[in-house]
Amino acid sequence: MNDRGGPAVCAEGLRKRYGGTNALDGLDLHIPRGTVHGLLGPNGAGKTTAVRALATLLRFEGGRALVAGLDVARDPHGVRRRIGLAGQYAALDEGLTGRQNLELFGRLFRLGGRRARLRAAELLEHFGLADAGGKGVAEYSGGMRRRLDLAASLILAPDVLFLDEPTTGLDPRARGEVWDTVRTLVSEGTTVLLTTQYLDEADRLATRVTVIDRGRAIADDTPEGLKNRVGGDRIEVVVAEAEDLGRVAGIVARVAGPGAGPETDEEGRRVHAPVSDRVTALTEVARTLRDERIRVEDIGLRRPSLDDVFLRLTGHRAEVA
């Protein structure tokens, strides 16, 4: 309707104070339509505050935000007609069935009884909940709740979907289901803003990622670009005897190839180095260690974690709130 070609989300200098601290300290965010944008940061970084501000739940004190082309502060009602929101907890009525939940929200989206029923049936079918639709939500598993919650946020087929840590507390299978849903939605034109604490989640889903710390964007890049800043995968060997460390460093250096050499951690009896070809590096190192009869306590590949990204970008560890 309005400004179809413009960005899905455009925020400039968002500010929000809580008590004495800046929950949002001049946050900028620019999300093109039809993409998945990751908002990455530790607890307390301001991710949830940012999503709540953009989803019209929280008044912000400074800055300007456009969502789906509409001004969040001036036309919150218009924004609400174009967004969907799924938070960290499944926001459902436990006393109703899955179908009744979707019909309730459909009616409150002002679809009227008939269209609310049809849309509920459609979404239950789409999310594989058609058989469970008549069961009470209290009997649903965590994964089923999350799917129903997603369905509820999609009743109006919104232009922009906000997902606040959508996979926190889910088992790997349910997490995969959420990821598939997000991919399907985006392929059909929805824009998704997703907050997460997990780099691999952002990696798999997001076109771009904004890293946020203390209410401010400290990096905006592709997942690939972010990982390159930290360095890619590393091979890590822990030896049984500290005197073998030198020999192991030599072996790792040969396999890892030129570039950044291996680092040795005497205290942890640990040698680690960046690698480009993960599997070859691992099998080569393991074979050589066995041939040279070096006793090893542990060997493995490590992906850079959010902690690593954080440490590199901010110079401080992610604070656990």
């Binding site: 709540r52 989803a55 019209t56 739940l57 929280l58 008044r59 009602h77 609400r80 007609r81 967004i83 929101l85 938070g87 960290q88 907890y89 499944a90 926001a91 459902l92 009525d93 436990e94 006393g95 109703l96 069935t97 009744q100 309730l104 929200f105 009616r107 409150l108 989206f109 002002r110 679809l111 269209r115 029923r117 049809l118 849309r119 049936a121 459609e122 979404l123 079918e125 789409h126 999310f127 009470g136 997603l150 369905a151 509820a152 946020s153 999609l154 009743i155 109006l156 087929a157 849903t181 399907t184 939605l185 059909e188 034109g189 929805t190």
Partner: protein, 288 residues
């Protein structure tokens, strides 16, 4: 349900998802009422799905009727004479209304803690319907509770000796008390952090109903406690309904007891005047 094949997806529906444009004030009023009704409807669906819920909620007053009426009843005195169970029933009606505020508070805190309130607030619905719908639903349930309780009372021999108008007025006063406590409940539900903490509200409600004329006439209490009980808003409703039903124990020595019907109107109005704005302000502060 939906016939034929379902072709829509999450992002592209076969259903027309156009939301009505609300520009004129009469359209706005229509949708405020429609939203409110849908919130009420949601609450009533709980009872349709689990009718036993309403029996649960009546469990306490019913057990109280039996305990106080039959176990303690023989040892209880009614000032001015009269049957204790006749004296007790108006008290049971009023204390059920008073305890009802717990249901409001629990429902509000559950919705807020689970994110349902935020979901409503992120939707293009009228935000006042979230509270007004809650209140109307609770009032509807209160009517059902009173009806079931009155039937129980009739079964154990309670009668209203007042005329039709007085009897209806008495039930009206009971609902007025419940109405005023809705706003206390909404406010409490928004203030307490979680469902567990809401359970602690019993510590407030229990004395509120005990230190009153629900079970015992204030004139029989120690001199320092009697005025507290007499000036308790619940007591005014109890005394007023005793008067209107023509049940024993009406009236009393103090001004507040002699003007029970007046006070049974004044108290709820005062409570509403204080807590309705507080509840609304608290609700608006969710966006701070």
């Amino acid at each position: 349900m939906a016939t034929g094949t379902i072709t829509g997806t999450a992002a592209r529906s076969s259903v027309d998802l156009g939301v009505p444009q609300v520009d004129r004030s009469h359209e706005r009023l229509y949708w405020v009422l429609a939203d409110c009704w849908n919130v009420v409807r949601r609450d009533l669906l709980h009872y349709r799905r689990l009718p036993v819920l309403i029996l649960w909620r009546l469990g306490f007053p019913m057990v109280s009727v039996l305990l106080y009426g039959f176990v303690f009843g023989s040892a209880m005195r009614v000032p001015g004479g009269g049957d204790y169970r006749e004296f007790l029933m108006p008290g049971m009606f009023a204390s059920t209304m008073a305890f009802g505020f717990m249901n409001t508070a629990t429902a509000v805190v559950t919705d807020t803690a689970r994110g349902v309130t935020d979901r409503f607030r992120s939707m293009p619905m009228s935000s006042s319907a979230v509270c007004s719908g809650r209140g109307l639903a609770d009032l509807t349930v209160a009517v059902a509770e009173l009806a079931i309780l009155a039937l129980t009372a009739l079964a154990i021999g309670w009668r209203s000796d007042g005329g039709l108008v007085d009897t209806v007025a008495a039930f009206g006063l009971l609902l007025l008390l419940r109405f005023s406590l809705i706003w206390v409940g909404v406010w409490c539900g928004l203030v307490v952090p979680n469902e567990e903490a809401a359970g602690g509200l019993y510590a407030v409600v229990f004395p509120l109903t005990m230190i009153s004329s629900v079970f015992v006439a204030p004139s029989l209490m120690p001199a320092w406690l009697a005025p507290v009980a007499a000036w308790n808003p619940v007591s005014s409703t109890v005394q007023a309904t005793r008067e209107l039903f023509g049940n024993p124990g009406a009236g009393g020595g103090t001004w507040v007891e002699q003007h029970a019907v007046l006070m049974a109107v004044v108290w709820p109005l005062v409570i509403t005047a204080v807590f309705l704005p507080l509840a609304v302000r608290r609700f608006q502060r969710l966006s701070r």
